[in-house]
Amino acid sequence: MNLLGYIARRLLLLGPMLVGITLFSFLLSHAVPADPVTANLGEQAAADPEAVAAFRQAWGLDRPLHQQYLIYLWNLARGDFGTSISTKQAVVLDLRQRFPATVEVAIVAMAISLIVGVPLGILSAVKRDSLVDQVTRVLSLVGVSVPVFWLGLVALLVFYARLGWAPSPGRLSAGIIPPTFVTGFLLIDSLREWRMDAAVDALQHLALPAFVLSSYTLGMITRITRGSLLETLGEDYVRTARAKGAPNLTVIVRHAARNGLIPVVTMVGLSFGRLLSGAVVTESVFAWPGLGLYAFRSATSLDFPAIMGVGIVIATIYILVNLLVDIAYGLLDPRIRVG
């Protein structure tokens, strides 16, 4: 079938793209005018040639650059992402521990953006220039323009420190013993063991960071839904639908929204990458032990295996999400056929 062939081709392309990404991140991280020795050895050890040599040898940094890269690729082909210089754990294990934390927030943030953003955008378009529209437009503009780090701290100050509605930063309260690590998603792992205390606690901890992280996407989706819907509401087929006496709601949902939502689907694909990368700041503010903090720490300490691991994971997700988006186009708009 056409669609399956298309998916297979896109997945096959994933391989070369990932190699390209590893090469790019490898070259970029080596172009930084600093030596991993500087970032990882203390002052005294860095001044000791023997200690420096031992460090370089231990991490394979004494080999020529192209050899280092080829060794990395060879190991990668066998599923070995290497060992992180900072955590001394297998990068796969590091990613496995942190990835669910980030995806958890990103998924909830995306869900909030869609559940709140799409209806708000539709409402705003239908009630154009009303008070609801004005307020929505201002709020979505704020969402798009407010820096996440600032919003995060304000949210903590208001909802955690002042009002006491939100729990402390982190994924769980200090008194809660985490459920056994199976999926890494605290909510799922807690429910697996029927640990309602942990599940509720995890959900409460998730709320605020997810809202803060969603601010940009929420604002963007609201604005795009509104704009796109305003356009479709003026189309001939909408007028036709109204003329044939279709109820208002049917016209908006079945006729206008279905077509008006296509740009929103594109936005979802693009935003997901942004949610993952925007997590760096949110995770710092909310002491959230995810991929963002890991990426930031890896980059600042020139932890090459970790940097490459994060790059590969984020790129793969980005590519996969965009593939899903392309497939969704076809389902939403029969005029677009993939393949």
Partner: protein
């Protein structure tokens, strides 16, 4: 210098109407799921738990591989060294696993009598062989703490409770060095089974790091229960500990990198001690009910480096310009940036160490004199670039703010500096490669002794970075000679006098402007007692109660 940095985002100030808008945006949604902070529900651990907020600087918690701030704090709780220092003291070594010791007349032989009946958590008894094994491992791993044992030539174990260290040359700093958490006794039988190697081949064949990152093997008051990198370290009480049991049963050290978040958490009582605050946050916590604050002097010097090598330093390699810079700086203003508890430095050795100069004798701002010196130098317009870690925050002091202040102060006498703020690793690289024309940096003591700061001597670590080799001038040569003499002087009074002479001379002729000695900002809930912050290992969990 230990790596004692954390990165931070700027601190928010002034909320105003934006807060109302943001609050409106989220209020409705948040209330859907978040009701109130959940109390400790089922599954909570029994006993007293102390929750500590930290900004992790951990490369490893294997004592043989680490000297970083956070790992020192953990290892001080889980391992015991031969000697220790109480509270925040930097002067008097006290017995720890060594009950007593004797130093030979020539200062080259140290004989330690170990405390009897001390057991590791595994049940193995502590013997001098454990110390010998641990020290040899540190030396042969060739990792961060290896330099500690440079003065030690030979380790002997005449009997299970006697340890003899023979030195290459007399070294009065040895006891201070031996207090390092990196030189704690490791359960050698257990760790050797887990891949630990102490011989000369250790650097390539030792495989015990991952074991020691998950389980401690020392005699300390606490045992490492879990370590999740970048997230959390949990310590539990060691039932086999040789002293009376500590007051808390469990310690949870959480990585909270954002200082503003730590501040909110200590305010709410979700953490008991906050150790990674900014200086401005400490000030705002002072009037919060149920929160106590503390500024503990750190054995660290902040200083301006001016490259003495004319190819790099250009005008700044001129001694007259260097002196002009020292007179141009507004030290009172700089102290405000350094925060409460920080003090002026007359030399490069922090106060608290024998040999440190009286802060009252420090340089005083004199802009007229500075301008006159610049005129004397006759170099016309003096221009340059100051390099610093733009994301670096050391003991709550933001290096970027400090660099801007220096820029403004020098502009007042007509010296034009452009700011060259770089990410930490990049800035550090340029500093270590001696490529900073002007830079603002700090040096932290690795052990409680003033000789740590001999790094500023011509030809030594910082001296080289400042383009100041031993043969730079007769004055430089003389300083290097004096330092060697002080290092092996066994008479305390003579040694202190020599160190004072050196310190004074460094600021007269050296390419530096000492700025201040910082104080570590610590906040804790008022029901927590016994909080001290030692310059080398930070909190001493054994003396803390709740």
């Amino acid at each position: 210098m230990r790596i004692s940095v954390s990165s931070s985002f700027p601190i928010l100030r002034g909320l105003g109407r934006w807060a109302v808008l943001a609050a409106g945006l989220m209020a409705a949604a948040t209330s859907i799921v978040a009701s109130s902070p959940s109390p400790a529900l089922a599954g909570a651990a029994p006993g007293t738990t102390l929750v500590v907020g930290s900004s992790f600087i951990i490369r490893s918690i294997d004592p043989g591989r680490t000297v970083e701030t956070t790992s020192n704090m953990i290892n001080h709780a889980t391992y015991d060294s031969l000697v220790t220092f109480e509270g925040e003291d930097l002067k008097t070594a006290k017995p720890s696993l060594a009950a007593e010791w004797k130093i030979s007349e020539d200062g080259r032989t140290y004989t330690f009598k170990l405390r009897p009946n001390v057991k590791f958590p595994s049940g193995n008894p502590l013997t001098s062989a454990d110390f010998k094994w641990s020290f040899e491992r540190v030396k042969n791993l060739k990792s961060n703490p290896a330099f500690y044992l440079d003065p030690v030539q030979e380790i002997q174990t005449p009997d299970p409770l006697t340890l003899v260290l023979k030195l290459n040359a007399p070294n009065p700093a040895l006891l201070a060095i031996l207090s390092s958490p990196s030189l704690g006794a490791i359960d050698s039988k257990l760790v050797a089974q887990k891949g630990g190697v102490s011989g000369p081949e250790a650097k390539s064949s030792d495989k015990a790091e991952s074991f020691l990152n998950n389980q401690s093997a020392g005699t300390g008051a606490f045992i490492l229960s879990s370590y999740v990198p970048e997230q959390e370290v949990v310590l539990v009480r060691n039932p086999n500990h040789w002293r009376a049991a500590p007051a808390v049963d469990r310690i949870v050290i959480r990585n909270i990198t954002e200082p503003a978040t730590q501040k909110l958490q200590i305010q709410r009582g979700d953490i008991d001690i906050a150790t990674a605050l900014g200086q401005d946050q400490l000030a705002s916590l002072r009037n919060v009910p149920n929160v106590s604050t503390r500024s503990s002097p750190a054995a660290t010097t902040f200083y301006v480096l001016m490259n003495n090598n004319p190819d790099v330093g250009h005008a700044f390699s001129n001694p007259k310009v260097q002196e002009a810079v020292r007179y141009a700086l507004d030290y009172d203003g700089i102290l405000t940036i350094a925060g409460t508890g920080a003090s002026r430095l007359a030399g490069v050795i922090p106060t608290g160490f024998p040999g440190a100069l009286d802060p009252r004798t420090a340089f005083k701002t004199d802009r007229e004199k500075s301008k006159a010196l610049l005129k004397e130098a006759g170099l016309g317009d003096v221009k340059g670039q100051i390099t610093y870690g733009s994301d670096q925050v050391i003991w709550g002091v933001q290096m970027a703010v400090l660099a801007q202040k220096i820029q403004a102060d020098l502009a007042a006498v007509g010296i034009q500096l452009s700011l060259n703020g770089l990410p930490r690793a990049t800035a550090l690289q340029s500093y270590r490669d001696a490529k900073n024309q002007v830079g603002v940096w700090s040096w932290a003591a690795d052990f409680p002794d003033g000789s740590n700061f001999f790094v500023y001597i011509p030809g030594r670590t910082v001296g080289k970075r400042a383009g100041w080799p031993e043969d730079a001038s007769p004055a430089a040569k003389e300083l290097a000679e004096l330092a060697r003499k002080a290092e092996s002087e066994v008479d305390d009074a003579k040694r202190a006098a020599l160190m004072q002479r050196i310190d004074k001379r460094i600021v007269e002729v050296g390419p530096y402007a000492p700025l201040f000695q910082p104080a570590v900002p610590v906040a804790f809930r008022s029901n927590v007692k016994g909080v001290t912050f030692h310059s080398v290992w930070g909190l001493d969990f054994y003396s803390i109660s709740k």
